[in-house]
Each structure stands twice: as C-alpha cells, then as structure tokens.
C-alpha cells in the first residue's frame, strides 16, 4: 500500500460506483452531491470524454464520461445514469457513471496494491484495489485523472 493511498482514504469512507461490469470508488470527502443525468451542452474542441457542460444551480459544470476517461467504451447516457458531482482541487466536475452502488467504510488493511499487470494508464489513476464481499473495487485518484485542475490549484 502506498503512502498516497493512505492519504486518500483518510476519511475511511468511500463511494463506490459502477461502470459497465466494473466497480470503482472515490473518497467520499471529494463528493459534493449525486444527481440524475440531464442533457449536457457539447463543447467545441473538447476531448471525447468531455460530454459537455450542464447548469448546476448557476455554475457551469463540465461532465466527464468516466467510462471513456478510464479507457473503456463510450457511454450513451440515459435517465438511469448518474452524475457524481466531485470537487477536484478548486474546480467542481460531474462524473457520469452507470450507478452508485455503495458507501464503504474501510480500514487501511483492506486496500491492496494495484497488481503489476496493469498498463500505465490504469496504474496512474488506480491507487489500489479493495476486496469487499467477493467484489473487486478499484480506488481512483481523481487528482491524477484531472491533473490540470490540480496544477491550477497549486
């Protein structure tokens, strides 16, 4: 287990969500709210995983297709999809996922290091994996996924 992972789960509570047949989780402290899908306004010249922007009570919120961002297939958003509004550095982003599955309370011992087989992309964002009730949940570092926001904060 890495030092960063320890830091990341300081709160020891994680929100788990589903994308396709995989489960991921992020620190609950970075999650602001969870809301249903609303159509986003596409942005010109945006990378493919940026679906566009929506109006979050007056703030312009970019929506990220997590599936595409994590290197999986493109999501066709429906009303069943969920947006996790998360704080990354000074900015707020909306993460489009299939569903929120769980709130996990864990201890450091539950986190296993990322297996060596993963390629660079996965290794960069994955901070470790959790084995909970036979499920495998990947712990994500949002700061790595959206580095420019982090660097602006610095």
């Amino acid at each position: 287990m890495t030092y960063a992972a320890k830091n990341l789960i300081d709160g020891h509570e994680l929100i788990a969500f589903r994308i396709g047949d995989q489960e991921f989780c992020v620190n609950i402290m970075s999650v602001r709210e969870i809301r249903g899908w609303t159509p986003a306004t596409p942005m010109p010249h945006a990378p493919p995983h940026v679906l566009g922007v929506i109006n979050l009570r007056g703030a312009v919120l970019p929506i990220i297709d997590m599936s595409q961002r994590l290197g999986m297939k493109r999501t066709e958003p429906t009303v069943r999809h969920v947006i996790i509004v998360a704080q990354v550095g000074p900015a707020t982003v909306g993460l489009l996922v299939d569903a929120v599955s769980d709130i996990l309370t864990i201890t450091d011992e539950n986190i296993q290091p990322t297996p060596d087989i993963a390629n660079e992309t996965e290794k960069a964002y994955a901070r470790g994996i959790l084995a909970i009730e036979g499920r495998m949940i990947c712990l994500i570092d949002l700061g790595v996924l959206f580095p420019h926001i982090e660097s602006e904060a610095a």
Binding site: T38, P39, A40, T41, P42, M43, P44, H45, A46, P47, P48, H49, V50, G52, V53, I54, N55, R57, G58, A59, V60, L61, P62, I64, R69, A91, T92, V93, A124, V144, L145, F146, P147, H148
Partner: protein, 758 residues
C-alpha cells in the same frame, strides 16, 4: 483586526481623501472661493498626515506637513489661491498620491520632484510667491488675453466678493470671543430615581457645577406630592441652573457625565429669547451676560445696535460685560471678517447636513458579487419555472400564472437594484484624467483645460476599473497629438489654452463617454499617406472621410512626426479600441479639420450581463454578443461565390465578405453547411474587417447572465463564456474575434484539456 487590516483601511481612506483633495483644488482652480472648499482640502491633507503619522510613514508625514502648512496660509487668507499657487498645489496632490501608493505597495517616488515641491510650498507659505514663480511655469498667465474668462485672471489681492483679504487667523478668532464674552448655560436637571439608586447625589453634581463659574440655582418642587402620597424612594425635585462659564456646554455636560443616563438633562447656551423670558418670569435674576453673536454677524449694521449691548451689560454689571464693552469697538471693526466666518460656519453646517443625508457602508466586493450571482440564479430559475408552468398548463389564466408574473416583476426589480450596488460614479476615473492632463500639459508645454461633465454617471465597477487605461491613452493622444502648441493656436485665432472635454452620460441602457478636443482634428491626408505607406490600404483606394478617420484604429498607426515620451509608442488607438471592445463596447471618431476630434465610446453598464442574439448552430444553441453584430441577412444563392478550394464569399451591396461557418469552425459538424439554409450575421471584429458568420437560425434576442467556463473547466477556444437559458440548459457565448481569427487560417487550438494525460 490586526495592524495590516487597519493600515488597509487607512489607505482606502487615503484614496477618498486624495479624491476629495483633488476635487477641492480643482474647484478652487475654477474660481471657487468658498472657505468650506479650502477647509475640505485642508482636512483631507490633515487626515492623511494624521493617519500616516500613526503608521510611521515618515516621508508621507513630512510632505503632508509642508503641504498642510501652505494650505493653512490659504485657509487663513495669508495666501491668495491664484492659478500659480494652485498649480503647485495640484502637483503636490499628485506627489502626495504617489507617496501614498509608494507607502502601500512599496516602490519609490521621484524624490527630486517632491523636494522641489516642498521648496515651492515652503516658499509659498512664507509669502515668497514671486520667488517661487520661476519654478512654477505659467505659459498662459504670461500672455493673458483680455477676453479671457474671469477666474483665470484672479487678481492677486481682491477676491470675487470684493473683500480686501485682511491677514487673519482662525486660531486667534477662536480664542478672542471666549475672552471677551463668557457664555451662560441654562441647565435643566431632573434626576430620575435611578440616579439616587446608583448612589449619585444631586447636591454633589450641583456643587461640581458651581465650580465651573458663577451659578444660580432654582429648585423646582412642583412635582412634590403631599406627604401622605410621597414615595420616599422617588425623585421629585428638578433644578434650573444657570451658570456663567467659559467651559461651554461640553464642560457642563462633563459634570453630568456619569449621571447622564439617569436624569433628564437639558443644557443650552442662553440666547436672546431666554433673556426676554427672564425679564417677565419669576425666575431668580441671572448673572448672565446675554451677548448675542448675531449682532456681530450683521456686519456694519452692528454698530447701530451697539447701545443695547452696552445697556444690557450695565444692568448685568458683570465683569464679563465690562470686558465686552471694552471690546465692542474692536468687534465692530472685525465685523466683516466675522460675517465671513459666520458664512463659513453656515456652509459647514450645510455640508455636514449633506454628508449626513447619504449614509454609506463599506462592503466587501465579494459579498456583493455573491449576491449578484444568486440573483442571477433566481432570474434563471424563475424563467425555468414559468416555462414549465406554461408547458403544463393549457388553460392560460390560472392563479399560478398571475403569481408567476408578479414573481417575474419582483425578480427583475431585485436584479436591477442589486446591479445598482455595483454601480459607481465615473468620477474617480475622471479625476485621474485631470492629473494625466496636467502632467502631459507640463511635458509638452501646452496649456490645457480639462472640462468634465456627468462625473456622477454610474456604471459597473468592473467597467470603471477597466476604463482608466484606454481613457488615459486617449487623453494623452488628445493633448499630445490633438491640441496645437499655444503659439500656433493663437496664430489660428483660437484660445491659446486648449480644451479637452470629457463627458459621460447614459443612453439607452449604455454609458456613453465622449472625449472631445478643440485641436487640429485629424489630418486626413497624412493618415491616408501613412496608411498607404504601411500597406493598410491601396494607394488608389477611394475612402470616405469617416473611413480615413477610422484608419487610426489600425495596429501600428501613429501620425505624430516624432515619437514622444507620452504617446505614439506604436501601441496606439488599436489598443484602445481592443480594450473598449473587450468591455463589450464600441468606439468611433468624428473629426473636423481645425476644430478638433470627438471620440465616442459606448459601453455596457455592466459586465455581468450581456445583450446577445440567441442562434442555433448544428443543433446547438449559441449566444452571439449583440455588440459585435453589424447586421443580419438571409443569403441568396446568387450572392454566394466560391473562392479557392474551400473559401466562400458573400456579396453584400457589391462588396465581398468572407463567409465563416460557425458550426464548422467550432467542430460541431464536419462538412460545411449550405449557406442558403441559414442566416448570415455580419460582424465586425478586432482587426476591423467584416465577416459573415453563418448560423442555422436566429432564435431571438435576449439579455443573458455571463457565467465563467474557466471556473470548473478550462478556456475553450472560440467560446468567450457560458450562460444559462430559460430552459435551464447551458448555452455558450461565441467569441467572435477568435472565430474570425480562426477563419483567417489560425485554427482554434485547445491549449490544455482534460485529456492532458489521456
């Protein structure tokens, strides 16, 4: 609150004081001789000095001190505020501002300049006006024309009212009346029972009072009930006291300092009517010497009333009265000054009233902005709500609809009044321009008079902050290039003193700022030649006067023969135009040879909202800022001409204009749309060139609240900002300049994206 915060407040106040100082000096410069103006100026410098002393800002203190001393001479009429004196003072105000800024932000000040000014100020203070003159250049006063306006030729020793200024110090005046006349205070003192309950004793208070001066006491026992009804713990007595004291009302009140809350206390300095009252009243005879100040204020007329004063003094037979009588003659001779002083006091009172009328609070700008944002939300939310009600309600007239209409009106009003909080008068910017004019006039050796109008026109603070720079630039241009040298002006039969007029006014929801000079106007031949030299226009181009005038807004254009320190560094009017456009404004020029030029700027009142045209492009809703749009038109097939491989031109009234497909540029669609299906928006961009932007349809025109995209995302090329429309969805606001630039072959580029690590 730590020291730094207090210091910050001090500097904020300094700014206000400096503004006050400058406006006061300018008023004096315009011939205002109101003592209150002088006092205001004096007060401003004095407050800065006081505050600076508290923070140990020695440079500031020492300069302010010299300045203050000189102003004191003006205040006490030892020094006549002539144009030359004021010139030195205005410069001193500038240096004072510099010193204040240096104290706040660090940095250095031109020490030689402040030393010279200190010397000049000291010279003025010592009455060596003439010795100081060489140091204060005065190109106009050297050859004043007889037809010049009066204020300019203010005579050295007789002011507007025709008074001979007699050297006279306010300080002396304050003391003298106190010596020759001891006022009598009438005190009504009615203790409550709490006074006794707290261990105070009326007798002790009265005894203290008697130490102030000669005193008479009358005890009012009217409220004393019959013995059987008397409550031993109640307070029934009250006293009427008259005391002759030089401590004044304040001295009397200080005796009651600790009892004030537990008694009814009425302290008055006795005026005439009380004397009259005393005559037929059964009150005990007073030792008072009623001495009416108004007699003094009546000027020469006072001599007629001299006798009654003396008579009264006789009856009173008080020492004070004897004093008075002996000084009456003196008093009469000073009547004129007294009248002046009285007038000063009256204006002071008026000024105080005026300032009390408009109370203000200092609020952090962030808080206001948050409120503005929230109100923006409210407006959007209200629009969404009414839209969904309309969709779900087919009856049309329901009580919900009526309620919604009222809500709409309310939200509009709230929005307007919240916007008004941010609105500030343009005065501070205009005042800064006064300084700019002075400095340039000095350097160029021209004589310039700046006239400002409509300084109280209000506009959003962000607009004001961004206005200063282009305005400074334009003023510099106007003085440096626009106005001729005094000799040349005289030769042309103009007033050697040039005039620059700065006007602000509201016009149809925008603020219009006009800068007019009475200089030579634009030399069209020269501009044209220069444009040809710089390959801006073809040598044989046939341009209208207006088109030639507007050439000066092109980049790298300067008609002045020599590049001066002030303007004409190559960054010229194009920079001005760009910064005005960045504010969502427009600028235009009209010029008459020999009569001067007028620059007109039209700016939005706020940057938080924008008038936009809502359009559809490739199924997406976009907002195009209305300020950029010149006209809209429906292209016909015959007007579209292909040019090269992919370019298309549209002919508008026999001129060809490149057609730009917005959807293609923004990557909303991969192929060019058919122009005939859409609408063309003719826009004017930064470079001055016109482009026809192709959109699919126009939805309408509306005011939108500007939302930042950068806050949560990054800058998007081709997009200026975002907004939220009535349906609650985000719409993007088109960056017209960027789109036009992209059409010139500089593709829109995403600098950093969320895909950075992809």
């Amino acid at each position: 609150m730590d020291m730094n915060e207090i210091k910050e407040i001090f500097f904020q106040e300094c700014e206000e004081q400096l503004a006050e100082l400058e406006s006061g000096l300018l008023k004096l410069n315009d011939g205002d001789r109101d003592p209150e103006t002088v006092n205001a100026v004096f007060r401003a410098v004095h407050s800065i000095k006081g505050g600076a002393g508290a923070f140990g800002l020695d440079d500031l203190v020492s300069f302010a001190h010299v300045f203050e001393t000189t102003l004191d001479c003006v205040r006490s009429n030892k020094l006549e505020p002539t144009q030359d004196v004021l010139k030195v003072m205005l410069k001193s105000a500038d240096v004072l501002a510099d010193l204040t800024n240096a104290a706040r932000d660090g940095g250095s000040v031109d020490e030689a300049r402040s030393r010279t000014l200190i010397r000049e100020l000291e010279a003025l203070a010592h009455g060596e006006t003439h010795a100081a003159e060489p140091a204060a250049p005065k190109p106009v006063a050297a050859a004043p024309k007889p037809s010049e306006p009066a204020p300019v030729v203010a005579k050295p020793d007789v002011n507007d009212e025709g008074f001979q200024p007699i050297p006279f110090s306010f300080g002396d005046f304050d003391e003298e009346p106190a010596a020759k006349y001891v006022p009598t205070c009438q005190i009504i003192f009615r203790p409550n029972r709490e006074l006794y309950a707290k261990g105070n004793e009326a007798v002790l208070l009265l005894r203290d009072l008697s130490r102030l001066g000669e005193m008479s006491v009358y005890c009012d026992m009217d409220r004393l009930p019959p013995l059987d009804k008397m409550n031993p713990e109640e307070a029934y007595f009250s006293w009427k006291v008259s005391v002759t004291t030089d401590k004044g009302e304040d001295g009397v009140r200080s005796v009651f300092e600790f009892a004030e809350w537990d008694c009814e206390l009425d302290v008055r300095t006795i005026e005439e009517e009380i004397v009259g009252e005393a005559a037929d009243d059964d009150e005990p005879p007073m030792q008072a010497v009623p001495f009416d100040l108004s007699l003094l204020e009546d000027g020469p007329a006072a001599s007629g009333e001299e006798e009654p004063v003396v008579n009264e003094s006789d009856t009173a037979a008080a020492i004070a009265a004897a004093d008075t009588a002996s000084k009456v003659a003196q008093v009469a001779s000073r009547a004129a000054e007294n009248a002046k002083a009285a007038a000063a006091a009256a204006t002071a009172a008026q000024a105080n009233q005026a300032s009390a009328a408009g109370q203000t609070i200092r609020v952090d700008l962030d808080r206001v902005d948050r409120l503005i944002n929230l109100v923006g939300e409210l407006v959007i939310n209200q629009a969404m709500l009414s839209q969904s009600v309309v969709e779900n309600d087919n009856n049309g007239v329901s009580s919900i609809n009526m309620g919604l209409e009222e809500l709409q009106q309310l939200t509009r009003e709230i929005q307007d009044s919240v916007m008004a909080i941010r609105a500030q008068p343009v005065k501070p910017v205009f005042q800064r321009m006064a300084r700019t004019v002075r400095e340039i006039a000095d350097i160029t050796g021209k004589s310039v008079r700046l006239i400002t109008e409509g300084e109280n026109t209000e506009v959003d603070k962000t607009v004001i902050d961004k206005l200063a720079e282009p305005l400074t630039h334009m003023i510099r241009n106007a003085v440096d290039h626009g106005l001729e040298m005094p000799e040349k002006r005289e030769a042309l039969g103009k007033n050697p003193e040039g005039t620059v007029r700065l006007t602000a006014k509201h016009r149809s929801g925008r603020i219009v700022i006009e800068l007019a000079d009475d200089g030579a106007g634009i030399n069209r031949e020269k501009v044209r030649q220069k444009a040809i030299d710089n390959d801006l226009i073809a040598a044989d181009a046939n341009l209208s006067d207006e088109e030639i005038d507007n050439l000066i807004f092109h980049a790298g254009f300067s008609t002045a023969d020599k590049v001066s320190d002030l303007s004409g560094r190559g960054v010229g009017m194009d920079v001005v135009k760009r910064s005005i456009q960045a504010l969502g404004g427009r600028i235009s020029i009209s010029s008459k040879p020999g009569q001067g030029s007028v620059f007109t700027m039209s700016l939005p009142l706020t940057l938080a909202v924008l008038d936009g045209m809502v359009v559809t492009v490739a199924g997406q809703t976009l907002v195009v800022p209305l300020t950029a749009i010149v006209e809209t038109l429906q292209p016909e097939a015959s007007a579209i001409h292909s040019f090269g491989a992919s370019q298309r031109l549209i002919s508008i009234r026999n001129s060809f204009c490149p057609l730009v497909d917005v959807g293609r540029i923004l990557n909303f669609r991969s192929t060019q749309a058919n122009p005939i299906d859409g609408v063309a928006l003719l826009v004017e961009s930064e470079g001055g060139g016109q482009r026809a932007l192709m959109v699919d349809a126009i939805q309408g025109q509306r005011q939108v609240v500007i939302k930042s995209l950068e806050a949560n995302y990054t800058h998007v090329p081709g997009i200026a900002a975002a907004t939220i429309l009535g349906d609650g969805r985000v719409a993007l606001i088109l960056d017209v300049d960027a789109v036009v630039a992209a059409s010139r072959g500089q593709p829109l580029r995403q600098d950093i994206s969320l895909a950075a690590t992809g």
